[in-house]
């Protein structure tokens, strides 16, 4: 933030300014406001990371700066197990992260998260792509009606109809299963709408040429349309993965008790449920582990992420 550290004497500098490096009071004020905002936005991220590195005593007394002193402390649980006190001295940061992985099957939760978000995305594409192609490029009786239905369904937030969906799944005996976590999201009307709008821009000549070559409609979808749709699909993938990795409401409803099926958010919630004073550090470590993948991916590919998340802006 180099232009903020400039001496604050240039309120009138705008009048006779050096173009490349001029100081202005309004510019400084803007940056001050933006920096203040950034501090508030970053506060919980700071707390999360910092607590995940500190010892219980440091957390309780609110000391130790960001990293804590990293002095070894006594793990009371380990002592209770009857081990020698000298063996039970642990470094806070290491203790917090190892406890996060050992106290609860965190790896399993993460794996569940990956399986579920991946299955949801693949099924969504499998269902939406052919439908979008037909709506965009084929002429048939009832096409307008089907598209009208898609537009109507865009009005329905799936979370809002969670209750009847839950009852349907319960009647089928499907609660507490992967299927329950995936089924409600298999249809993405938004995906259909988005892909249809994209396919409308693909020239008909391309499809006609493919048909001349004797390609079936099926292989046109997967071999001609799919490759052209990669940018839109990528954006949709980000949209879908972020929504379902972070989703808490739906898993909370259909998964009760069976830890083997927990998604990362549910695992973290469970951790909070039985956390006492000593477990704040490990809990923050768990939170960090769960939040980190998407944040890191976002930092690496910001433009694509922002595009994907704000896709709904295209409606």
């Amino acid at each position: 933030m180099s232009d903020l550290s400039l001496p604050a004497n240039g309120t009138a500098a705008g009048a006779f300014s050096v173009p490349s490096f001029r100081f202005s009071a309004t510019e400084t004020l803007k940056h001050l406001v933006l920096i203040l905002g950034s501090l508030i936005v970053l506060l919980p991220f700071y707390v999360m990371l910092s607590y995940s590195l500190k010892s219980p005593a440091e957390i309780m007394q609110n000391i130790g700066g960001f990293f804590g002193a990293q002095e070894a402390f006594r793990d009371d649980y380990c002592v209770k197990l009857g081990k020698d006190v000298a063996d039970c001295m642990v470094t806070p940061a290491i203790y917090n992260y190892t406890t996060a992985f050992h106290k609860a099957p965190l790896v399993r939760y993460l794996l569940n998260g990956v399986i579920i978000t991946a299955s949801i995305f693949f099924i969504q594409v499998l269902v939406a792509l052919p439908c979008a192609y037909a709506l965009a490029k084929l002429r048939f009786w009832g096409r307008e009606a089907v598209f009208g239905l898609v537009l109507f369904c865009l009005l329905i937030p799936v979370h809002a109809i969670a209750l009847p969906l839950y009852i349907m799944l319960a009647k089928l005996g499907l609660t507490n299963s992967y299927a329950a976590l995936v089924i409600p999201w298999t249809i993405s009307v938004f995906g259909i709408f988005l892909m249809r709008q994209f396919f409308m821009t693909v020239p008909d000549d391309l499809i006609d040429a493919a048909r001349m070559d004797g390609m079936s409609e099926f292989s046109i979808i997967w071999n001609v349309m799919l490759p052209t749709a990669v940018p839109a699909l990528l954006a949709f993938a980000i949209f879908s993965v972020v929504a379902h990795w972070n989703d808490y409401f739906w898993p909370r409803i259909v998964i009760t008790g069976n830890r083997d099926l927990f998604t990362p958010p549910l695992g973290l919630r469970e951790f909070k449920g039985d956390a006492d004073g000593d477990n704040f550090g490990p809990m923050m470590a768990t939170a960090t582990v769960i939040v980190a993948p998407l944040i890191l991916a976002f930092l690496i590919a910001q433009r694509r992420f922002i595009e994907g998340i704000t896709l709904s802006g295209m409606k």
Binding site: M1, E27, K30, V33, L34, G37, S38, V41, L42, P44, F45, V47, I59, N62, V127, A128, P130, C131, L138, V146, L149, C153, L155, I156, H159, A160, I161, A162, L163, P164, L165, I167, M168, A170, I183, P184, T186, I187, E217, F218, I221, N246, Y248, F249, P265, L268, R269, K272, F280, M283, A287, I290, L294, I295, Q302, I306, I309, T310, S312, G313
Partner: protein, 306 residues
């Protein structure tokens, strides 16, 4: 065309799932809201409008509507306003715009349940960073602010467990989480405002930034605003994660944070009162659909799907 029936294979699965997963549940919720159905019971009695009568007359549900509307009417204006403000500021600075954009967008990416748990720590009355930071301001000029002096005197608010502060604190977290999303949409909207319009406005005598904003930016951002407001409404109506994380039982101090999604969850899933849950679901759907239709109607004049 050799495969005149191919389209049914393409449309079929999507059509089937749309009916099964999106339309049928609305019907089920509609029918169930007139019964006293519970999961596990063989049948259910038809109770007519009794569930709706409860929803619109009992004090619990009055608190539910109160909490929901308080939350929505704080989060929507603030997250839209701050989103627009951040976008305008970032757009007008010469440097570090992308840097701020990245930071403000972080909360959108992070799992809300995780961040809710972190906020609970930050807002903890004794060990939380928020109150301990505020305490450091005691004895300074800030004490001339009566609210602050009172905090120094008798301790700062308990935030999440104080019934006067709870809903506003939860709403603050909602704004914290959502305004970056709106900012990005506004930034996209700003790129489509033609530069010449500003020059033209300046020539017509709009000397101040505020006048240029009022005459050019704001009208040009109209469609973006309609969309941003609608999506903020829909997202904030659906608030659940923070409420469940802070108040797993009962919806906060004297039910002051008993929002609709939590009420559906509590009545139907926890207490197995499906009829009431369904009635709240129907009311909820009416709100959300009405808002979206209003948005479409407003935008219709400019955009046509074809």
């Amino acid at each position: 065309m050799q495969s005149s029936r191919a389209h049914w294979w393409f449309i079929g699965p999507a059509l089937f799932l749309m009916v099964l997963i999106l339309l049928m549940p609305i019907g089920i919720a509609g029918v169930m809201s007139f019964t006293n159905y519970s999961l596990g019971n063989p049948g259910a009695d038809w109770v007519g409008l009794a569930n709706y009568e409860k929803v619109f007359t009992r004090s619990t549900y009055q608190k539910m509507f109160g909490a929901t509307f308080r939350y929505v009417f704080v989060v929507v204006p603030l997250s839209v306003g701050l989103g627009l403000g951040a976008a305008l500021l970032i757009n007008s600075t010469r440097r570090f715009g992308d840097f701020y954009k990245t930071i403000y967008f972080l909360p959108v990416m992070a799992a809300l349940i995780a961040m809710a748990i972190v906020w609970e720590f930050a807002l903890h009355p004794t060990i939380g960073i928020v109150n301990s930071t505020l305490e450091q301001g005691c004895g300074s000029v800030l004490e001339s602010w009566s609210w602050f002096a009172q905090g120094c005197d008798r301790g700062f608010p308990l935030w999440l467990t104080d019934r006067d502060y709870a809903i506003w604190t939860v709403a603050f977290i909602g704004v914290w989480q959502g305004f970056g999303f709106n900012m990005v949409l506004y930034l996209a909207g700003l790129t489509s405002v033609p530069r010449e319009l500003y020059q033209a406005a300046e020539m017509d005598g709009a000397k101040f930034a505020w006048e240029r904003f009022r005459l050019v930016t704001w009208p040009m951002l109209g469609p973006t605003t309609v969309f941003v407001v609608t999506i903020s409404f829909i997202r904030s109506f659906q608030v659940f994660d923070t409420v469940e994380a802070f108040y797993p039982q009962g919806g906060g101090p004297s039910k002051s944070v008993y929002v609709m999604m939590f009420a559906i969850y509590e009545k139907a899933i926890q207490q197995n009162l499906m009829g009431i849950g369904a009635a709240i679901t129907v009311v909820f759907l009416v709100f959300v659909m009405f808002l979206t239709l209003a948005q479409r109607w407003l935008v219709e004049k400019r955009v046509h799907y074809s």
